[in-house]
Symmetry: C2
Subunit: 219 residues, 2 copies
């Protein structure tokens, strides 16, 4: 009773999830979901909505205010500084965030009869976030299947790509223009601040690929 | 920087979680958490609060309204009938419920520097719920540890006990009187309806143990 032609895409509104959306659409229909967890850069949800509209797919926002209530981190709290100290988890790490997102995505996917779930999670630029690692995603896939008695497939096509690889992939998919709709800046600024770790990582990827960022062109 | 003397207990207010609370208190301090997910039998949260007060431990309710929004089941929807059909998941199954509860409990435990998490989940009377199985809990333990880079211990002391075993265990712990504070009925009725699967399971356990249920004595 599953729909093998349809997939669910975690659409944060960033560059990686936009790329996953383009990949997923090559396989068939897509149901996209985003998460509102009180993130500073909530503007990314608007970006996700614009991407979904451009792609012509359904987009649903799942409300998870409990994440910002339970954890203290620089992504949801304005009184925390965004920084990375050697040997420590980055201050932007939200404990369990990807696990919670993928778990709720799976609950929704099962409701819709969907098995395949795309996430742009990437170990190559994981920046010390333990829940961006491939071993975590594989373990989670097993746990989800046991939890719900269902054969989910967690598909993470960007896991081992560099940011430059991802940009080149999107160029090959002829969807480079979608990047103009994305949001990356952790600080929620439009145009992007250019200084936060997320902005710097994005800029380095486009530079290495030798491709101009359509987001900056659009400003 | 963990507190080896302290544990977190998932306290639903039912018989099994009350037993876990008694077990955990033998090891040291306890922080108890309950979940409000729009369950019909929300009265169980009051039972959990009474148990925590009796035991003298902190009790925190985590709000997860999203669970009842995402899933259709007889535990949260009044328009669904509570029933069990042969070969199907029971209509009371909330997809991913134990996984979501244990994941948020783990996020909170890490914040508090706690490693050990007690849950009254039990395979012996699992009634077809896949997320009550031991293999699921063990898989989840690995996934949580990978997700957060932390050494959680999911402790499920009732996993292989019958309901009668649990009643006897509580008698040995000299906490049988706590059962008068518990709530079991799925339909949220006080006094219990006596007809739903949860009420029947409870009654059978006390009968087999040859011990009177303090909850019924209290009516």
């Amino acid at each position: 009773m599953t729909n093998a032609q349809k997939s669910l895409v975690l659409l944060s509104g960033g560059q990686d999830s936009a790329t996953c959306l383009a990949i997923a659409l090559q396989q068939g229909d897509v149901h996209a979901v985003g998460f509102d967890y009180g993130q500073r850069h909530r503007v990314e949800l608007q970006a996700a909505g614009r991407l979904a509209a451009e792609a012509g797919v359904a987009f649903e926002v799942i409300e998870l205010p409990i994440i910002s209530q339970l954890t203290t981190n620089a992504l949801t709290r304005h009184d925390q500084v965004i920084e990375v100290k050697s040997g420590e988890l980055p201050s932007t790490f939200v404990d369990g965030r990807n696990m919670v997102f993928l778990t709720f995505a799976a609950i929704r996917a099962k409701q819709l009869g969907i098995q395949r779930i795309y996430s742009g999670v990437c170990q190559t630029d994981f920046s010390g976030y333990p829940d961006c690692r491939d071993v975590f995603v594989k373990s989670l896939n097993v746990t989800l299947n046991l939890a719900m008695g269902y054969d989910f497939v967690l598909d993470t096509p960007l896991m081992w790509l560099t940011k430059a690889d991802t940009v080149r992939l999107m160029a090959n998919l002829k969807r480079l223009d979608w990047y103009r709709l994305t949001h990356t800046c952790y600080d929620g600024q439009v145009p992007p601040c250019g200084q936060c770790p997320a902005c710097k990582l994005r800029a380095a990827g486009f530079a290495e690929a030798g491709i101009a960022d359509p987001l900056l062109d659009a400003q």
